[in-house]
């Protein structure tokens, strides 16, 4: 991957082939970007005027719809609260599963794995009934809980993998040095699993940000809509179909993902490093 260690084989043929295959994708992304700032005459490929009208959704809200900022805020709340829930539960449950000699440990481990592989869609009706019963249908809280619960098996498993890589003696040494179990965890163990924590955090956030199915089913109403649902409702509306507006909102929607990805791409790879040792 890096240039340093590729001296014993030429990397350009690989780069070339990968590049060729990626061209269509890149062209699509390029047009997505160009189209949001220009107008193009029908039938032509070359844009003929520069315009910001496709981005007007940022500063004006059409009557009868919600402001994009409200929707963005919903998405942000949805993704970050969900991430928080996943992180805090995985952090503690992973530790318990990795370290503590608790009853039914094997049962829990197997359960977590099975749940991880469980097809979500089969749960929809049951979840719907539960949410209705609790009065959480059409609320952000409800859908946050559902999405977090569905992602927890994965999170717990990954965190357990990271905890497993911390030598047992380090904790024992800490205890011998006079620290309480909690101090040992916070000062000695946590710093060592931080890469895993960051990776899981970014991963969960991205997962929440891009989630469509759960919010669409359990929180479809306008004032709790998230961006994915909002976007879907745009194309569903046959009356005034605006392709470029759709593209602009789409671009607006993926920007944070791209930024997060660029910032954290190295950290994300950690999930596979630490999580593989189960």
């Amino acid at each position: 991957m890096s240039d340093k260690n590729s001296s014993n084989f030429k990397s350009w043929p690989v780069t070339l082939i990968l590049g060729l295959f990626s061209v269509p994708l890149l062209v699509m992304y390029l047009y997505l970007f160009i189209d949001t700032f220009t107008n193009t005459a029908p039938g032509s490929l070359i844009p003929n005027e520069l315009t910001f009208e496709h981005w007007r959704f940022l500063w004006e809200t059409e009557p009868g719809t919600v402001s994009i900022w409200q929707v963005t805020l919903n998405t942000l709340i949805f993704a970050s609260v969900m991430t928080l829930v996943i992180l805090s539960v995985s952090l503690t449950a992973g530790y318990a599963l990795s370290r503590l000699n608790m009853p039914f440990r094997r049962f829990f481990l197997a359960g977590v794995l099975t749940l991880h592989a469980f097809p979500t869609v089969t749960l929809v009706i049951a979840l719907f009934i539960v949410l209705q019963f609790l009065g959480l249908y059409n609320t952000l809280i409800g859908v946050i809980f559902i999405k977090a619960a569905l992602m927890l098996p994965f999170g717990i498993w990954v965190m357990k993998g990271f905890y497993d890589t911390v030598p047992w003696e380090i904790e024992m040494a800490g205890v011998q040095d006079g620290a309480s179990r909690f101090m040992v965890w916070r000062l000695l163990v946590l710093p060592q699993i931080k890469p895993g924590l960051i990776a899981l955090g970014v991963f969960s956030f991205l997962e929440g940000w891009s989630e469509y199915l759960m919010p669409q089913i359990f929180a479809p109403e306008a004032d709790v809509q998230v961006l994915s649902v909002y976007l879907a409702s745009l194309i569903a509306d046959d009356q005034k179909f605006d392709f470029n507006l759709f593209k602009s909102i789409g671009l607006f929607y993926v920007l944070p993902v791209i930024v997060l990805y660029l910032v954290f791409q190295n950290k994300l790879m950690n999930i596979y490093g630490g999580g593989s040792k189960g």
């Binding site: 030598p167 003696e169 380090i170 024992m172 040494a173 800490g174 205890v175 011998q176 040095d177 006079g178 620290a179 309480s180 101090m183 000062l187 000695l188 710093p191 060592q192």
Partner: protein, 353 residues
């Protein structure tokens, strides 16, 4: 501070690992727990510092019963086999950690850390991270961290196992020096008899969760209580011969050879089955009864050679002596056996004399 294990018992679920062990480590003494793999050395050590909780009996530090005192309050320094340094902290922070936990003022921490670092000779490494140190240096850091808060007791679990031969030699004397300079009571776990003999005041030899003998290295070497102890100590190891008491002498099994009993041994009844332990240094060197045999193995050790001599009845004796030209592989030799130095055990392996 002295450590007393009083009928100490440890089980893992249903597996009895240590049953009713009694052991006293005297104040200021360095005691080795020596024994083969799996005999329960680490289990005993970790019970002293409450990493494992004991299932029966008492553990006393001085006169204080600490059986139900948590690790944090036992004031024990532990050095683990893999050092267990905190990888994300600098060496300074590693050593300072026990003091920081105690909420000692920063100024004083600095002073204490530097003091111990000087003692252990790592004063110039304090800025580094553990991964930037060699094995021997990491070992020193682990030792400083265990000692910095002035523990009552120092516990070392196979501290030299991860070092190469030369460093092991160096750290052996270093650990001993530091233990003596601090005057701390220490327990060293090892399966290496040389380590135990060279570093410790006394050795407790263990097998299958039992202590077989506790005494000084010298006494254990010359006065082993059982054949197991005799076989465990000594390199090259002791050789055993089977025999029967006949007419007040020892008749070797399947052979006409008769050996006199050492003069210190009281009269033994005829027909008694015995096992003789012969250390390699007492065969082929001093005067004694000449034994005929064939050289079946020669190992060069530099200044000395180790010879295996197969006797007429198939039994093998070992001999260690200065390199000699007249004994090559397959040669017939007749060497003297110093019968005064033979150790005699009964058929249960207990020492007769």
């Amino acid at each position: 501070m002295r450590i007393l294990l009083d009928n100490f018992t440890k089980k893992f679920d249903d597996v009895m690992v240590i049953n009713n062990m009694n052991l006293e480590v005297r104040d200021g003494e360095m005691m080795a727990l020596l024994g083969p793999s799996g005999c329960g050395k680490s289990t005993t050590l970790f019970s002293i510092c409450e990493i494992y909780q004991c299932n029966g009996g008492r553990i006393l530090f001085g006169d204080r019963d600490v059986s139900n005192v948590t690790s944090q309050h036992r004031n024990v320094g532990v050095v683990f086999q893999n050092y267990a340094l905190y990888p994300h902290m600098s060496i300074f922070d590693n050593i300072a950690f026990p003091l920081m936990v105690k909420k000692m003022p920063a100024e004083q921490i600095k002073k204490e850390v530097h003091k111990i670092a000087e003692l252990v000779h790592i004063g110039d490494l304090l800025e580094r991270k553990p991964s930037q140190l060699s094995g021997g240096q990491q070992q020193r850091v682990a030792l400083s961290r265990a000692l910095v808060r002035k523990p009552d007791v120092l516990l070392l679990d196979e501290p030299l196992a991860n070092l190469d031969a030369k460093l092991r030699l160096e750290m052996r004397s270093e650990i001993r020096r530091i233990q003596q300079e601090t005057g701390i009571t220490a327990v060293l776990v090892t399966h290496d008899q040389v380590e135990a003999m060279s570093m410790c005041d006394r050795i407790a030899l263990m097998d299958h969760g039992k202590i077989l003998q506790v005494t000084t290295p010298n006494d254990m070497y010359h006065n082993p209580q059982t054949d197991f102890v005799a076989g465990f100590l000594g390199n090259p190891p002791i050789a055993f011969l089977d025999g029967v008491i006949t007419n007040g002498q020892i008749q070797l099994k399947d052979s006409a050879i008769q050996l006199p009993l050492p003069s210190r041994v009281p009269v033994q009844p005829d027909g008694k089955i015995v096992r003789l332990g012969v250390r390699p240094e007492y065969f082929g060197n001093q005067a004694g009864i000449e034994l005929q045999g064939q050289v079946s193995f020669v190992e060069t050790q530099g200044r000395e050679n180790l010879y295996d001599i197969r006797l007429g009845n198939g039994a093998v004796l070992r001999s260690i002596q200065p390199v000699r030209a007249d004994a090559g592989l397959g040669d017939s030799v007749s060497w003297p056996l110093d019968t005064e130095q033979i150790l005699i055990f009964d058929d249960q392996g207990q020492r007769v004399a």
